[in-house]
């Protein structure tokens, strides 16, 4: 048997330990708060409206980052396509102005 191991049953020592344990003072209205929390936990959860769900979804960092990236990409693609169309149209008008003056159209 090891030297520092407590004897399995030592009533005087157990009593002494119990008395020496300090129990902290409970905060004010502790019991009332506990009951309120229990009631809230047992009450059926209120369903979030679609607006709240959507707002919560938007505020998720992953969703927000993906949305910003998608909008940026779409904007750049659409802008590039429109720019190419403008360049093509301007080049076509340059050619047309050279070969077909307004008096011939």
């Amino acid at each position: 048997m090891k030297e520092n191991q407590m004897p399995p049953d030592d009533p005087p020592l157990s009593e002494l330990l119990r008395q020496s344990r300090v129990s902290p003072a409970l905060p004010p209205r502790f019991q009332e708060n506990v009951w309120r929390r229990l009631e809230a936990a047992e009450a059926p959860a209120r369903r979030a409206s679609w607006l709240e769900s959507l707002a919560a979804l938007i505020l998720r960092p992953r969703f927000a980052a993906a949305g910003v990236a998608a909008l940026l990409l779409t904007g750049v693609l659409a802008g590039t396509m429109e720019g190419q169309k403008t360049v093509r149209h301007e080049a076509q008008m340059n050619y047309l102005a050279a070969v077909a003056p307004h008096s011939a159209r």
């Binding site: 802008g79 590039t80 301007e90 340059n94 070969v99 008096s103 159209r105």
Partner: protein
């Protein structure tokens, strides 16, 4: 106001700003980087996928056509100023003004005829499929305006006749 609604409206505004900003920035960048205002024929080469040999031939045709076109344009401009003088402050079309109008019309017809002939010649210098596409596009761009105007005018006339 509801907090969720504010979040949604804010997200919508931010999204619109991001899209619009990136759209206009990309459009401007594309126009600035890709525009080639120096060469009138660059559009032909890119649009109809022409090789250097075809372009060289078309450049020759183009260079031969431009002086004829410029000369006719100058003659039309001169006739127009003669018409202005003939009209003066008169309140009806005189025989001289009518003559000038006829001369201008004849010059315009000749100018159009030369232009169409140039389009045919250029189209023949291209691969057949591209030539057909070029011709169709040129006809649409140069004669289409007249067709549109004439059909709208004839539509208006027939509309009046029904009444």
């Amino acid at each position: 106001m509801n907090r969720s609604l504010i979040i949604l409206l804010g997200a919508l505004a931010l999204g619109a700003a991001i899209f619009t900003g990136s759209y206009f920035a990309a459009q401007r960048a594309t126009v600035m980087c890709c525009a080639k205002p120096a060469d009138d024929l660059s559009w032909l080469q890119e649009e109809f996928h022409l090789g250097e040999a075809e372009m060289a031939h078309i450049r020759e045709l183009h260079a031969g056509y431009l002086p004829q076109c410029a000369e006719l344009c100058a003659r039309i401009a001169a006739k127009k100023s003669e018409l202005e003088s003939a009209l003066g402050n008169r309140t009806n079309v005189t025989a001289e003004a009518q003559l000038k109008l006829n001369e201008i019309a004849a010059l315009r017809t000749q100018c159009q005829s030369n232009m169409l002939q140039h389009f045919f010649t250029v189209s023949q210098a291209m691969p057949p499929e591209q030539g057909r596409r070029y011709l169709a596009e040129m006809k649409q761009l140069t004669l289409g305006d007249h067709e549109q105007m004439e059909s709208s005018m004839s539509g208006a006339t027939s509309h009046e006749h029904h009444h």
